[in-house]
């Protein structure tokens, strides 16, 4: 069976134009997808059933047992951490937040080690952004700063920027200028009209210099800033100011570098400054397909996009304190529920060690690094393959991920609702 307009649940581009062929509950072909999509759909390999750590080995358990045990672990905890959420649909995320609230836990999503700093910057100065179609149809200048879309968001350039023809941009490749700023050469920087090669940790200074130039205070700028020549900075500022519509996209090169959110704040303030001359927007290149959804869902329920601590009954937020890496590093939490992510692979080692010390339950379709650290893992359906639900694209556009076939796995929402019901029941009695 051929299914059209399938939504790819891999990266924040959330492409929705895939054509997928399904036979016997397996995807057997993918059209329009990038390498990441092809791998995701075609080589899907799951954990078969719930497993529990048993001494120095593992044994299979039933879903009911796994759910009951998870509820008990959460009920016993004085400071549970509920982490992950970017790889599941909004409806499941919503249950997760209510669960965290009910047990007085901390709930955090993968933004914490991704675009969390971008959120912190937005909370200081706001975010002049737009949907991706606005860029596709209008932008004549594109800036990628600390981002490598060819590797991380392979179709970003062909769907929305460099190679995407739009209403007012009939020949994108010819009519758009592309600027790339990065500390290393990448495949993305290779196609840029201007490549700002910035010294490690120098993004903040380079952005400050550009702001000063755009404000007409360029006389102050020395001959080199963070490895970039004064001439190039002026040239880039000029291209930006002369744009009809400019769009900056930034990635982890800014969020993870020294200064963290202050780099992004500086980039946003540059964008705001540029709006005095022309139209400019800025957007984070969100990584996981529904990490932005987890921010949205957390926000409308709790008021905060990530790192929410319900310990005192109210919602409290303070990155650096209520963020997962910090909580694990300090050894604060005494239980952890990991949903749709892999902190074992993606957190610093000290955090993985704490996960191994405490009861850690993972709800995830696949065997991953966290599996080995966990006490219990519950496999679930994959949203976009055998489960459906809401996802938010990197620009905030909500799209419903399709279910391509009905498999044998329960979805995240069902599992979480059962855990929630058990916890609620236990709290009542």
């Amino acid at each position: 069976m051929k299914i059209e307009d399938v939504v790819c649940t891999f990266c924040g581009c959330l492409c929705d134009d895939l054509v997928v062929e399904v036979e016997n509950n397996r995807v057997c072909s993918v059209e329009n997808g990038c390498t990441l999509a092809n791998e995701k759909f075609m080589r899907d390999h799951r954990l078969k059933n719930p497993i529990r750590r048993d001494g120095n080995g593992w044994k299979a358990v039933s879903y009911d047992e796994a759910i009951r045990e998870t509820a008990e672990i959460l009920l016993d905890a004085d400071r549970p951490l509920l982490y992950g959420w970017s790889g599941t649909h909004g409806e499941a995320q919503s249950v997760g937040v209510h669960l965290a609230e009910l047990i007085g836990g901390v709930i955090d999503n993968t933004s914490t080690v991704c675009h969390g700093p971008s959120i912190m910057a937005i909370q200081e100065v706001g975010h002049p952004g737009c949907t991706l179609g606005q860029v596709k149809n209008r932008a004549d200048v594109i800036v990628y700063w600390g981002a490598n879309p060819i590797d991380a968001h392979p179709r970003h350039m062909s769907r929305y920027t460099t190679y995407a023809d739009g209403f007012f941009i009939e020949n994108a490749f010819r009519d758009r200028k592309v600027i790339v700023a990065d500390v290393r050469q990448t495949e993305s920087s290779a196609i840029a009209d201007e490549f700002l090669k910035i010294d490690r940790g120098g993004d903040y200074a380079a952005l400050s210099a550009l702001r000063a130039i755009v404000r007409g205070k360029g006389d102050l700028i020395p001959s080199r800033v963070a490895g970039v020549t004064r001439e190039q900075l002026f040239r880039v500022a000029e291209i930006c100011m002369k744009a009809k519509f400019g769009a900056i996209f930034f990635g982890l090169g800014l969020t993870m570098s020294p200064g963290k959110y202050k780099n992004i704040r500086n980039a946003i303030e540059l964008t705001q400054e540029l709006n005095r001359h022309t139209k400019f927007t800025i957007s984070p290149m969100r990584g996981h397909w529904n990490v932005y959804g987890s921010n949205e869902v957390f926000t409308w329920i709790t008021g905060y996009p990530y790192a929410i601590d319900f310990a005192r009954g109210i919602a409290f937020y303070n990155p650096g304190e209520t963020t997962s890496v910090d909580i694990l590093m300090r050894g604060e939490c005494d239980a952890c529920l990991v949903v749709a992510s892999d902190p074992g692979a993606h957190f610093p080692r000290a955090c993985a060690e704490h996960l191994a010390r405490i009861p850690t339950v993972q709800i995830d379709p696949h065997v991953n690094a966290t599996t080995h650290l966990a006490t219990l893992q519950i496999p679930v359906a994959v949203t976009g393959i055998d489960a459906e639900g809401t996802a938010y694209r990197m620009d905030g556009v909500p799209i419903r991920a399709r279910k391509l076939f009905t498999g044998s796995y329960p979805n995240d929402q069902e599992i979480l609702e059962k855990i929630f019901a058990r916890v609620k029941e236990a709290k009542r009695s």
Binding site: F10, T35, L36, E39, K40, R43, L47, I51, R53, N56, G57, W58, T112, V113, G116, P117, M120, N148, I150, D151, A152, P154, V183, R184, Q185, T186, R200, G201, L252, G253, T255, M256, S257, P258, K260, Y261, A307, G320, T323, V325, D326, M329, D342, G344, A345, H346, F347, P348, R349, A350, A352, E353, L355, A356, H366, V367, N368, A369, H372, L373
Partner: protein
């Protein structure tokens, strides 16, 4: 040799990220991407093993020569190998220094551990799929 470790996404890492037990994933995640001159100085070739040490841990990886990296910088894709070296300090921002870890490199003939072994070192119990 003292160098700075940078980490980030790669398309191969992304391709195999949902199959972390696969050899493909391990191959990509345990690759230490280096400038050729740095490799020359260390007297290692593509595929040779290198012990990478930071203040926060150590792990053996496989050297891989790439274009685009300046001397003194190495690149490892996001994943458990890189994270064996990255410290958990977030400077009050929630975000560790994934882009700027000081590491030292030293050629070795020790094997590259599997992800399962890495997690066992963290106190986990390996699961065989």
């Amino acid at each position: 040799m003292r160098v700075i470790l940078n980490t980030g996404r790669t398309i191969r890492q992304g391709s195999y990220v949902e199959r972390k037990t696969s050899a493909d994933y391990m191959e990509e995640a345990a690759s230490l991407n280096m400038n050729r001159m740095d490799m020359f100085e260390l007297a290692v070739e593509d595929g040779n093993h290198i012990r990478v040490r930071s203040d926060h841990g150590e792990v053996v990886m496989k050297a891989r020569a790439v274009e685009g990296l300046i001397r003194g910088q190495v690149f490892v894709c996001l994943g458990p190998y890189a994270n064996h070296l990255v410290g958990p300090e977030t400077h009050g921002t929630g975000m560790p220094d994934f882009k700027t870890t000081q590491v030292t490199l030293e050629p070795t003939t020790d094997p590259v551990p599997t992800i399962r072994e890495l997690m066992e070192r963290c106190g986990g119990v390996g699961y065989e799929d």
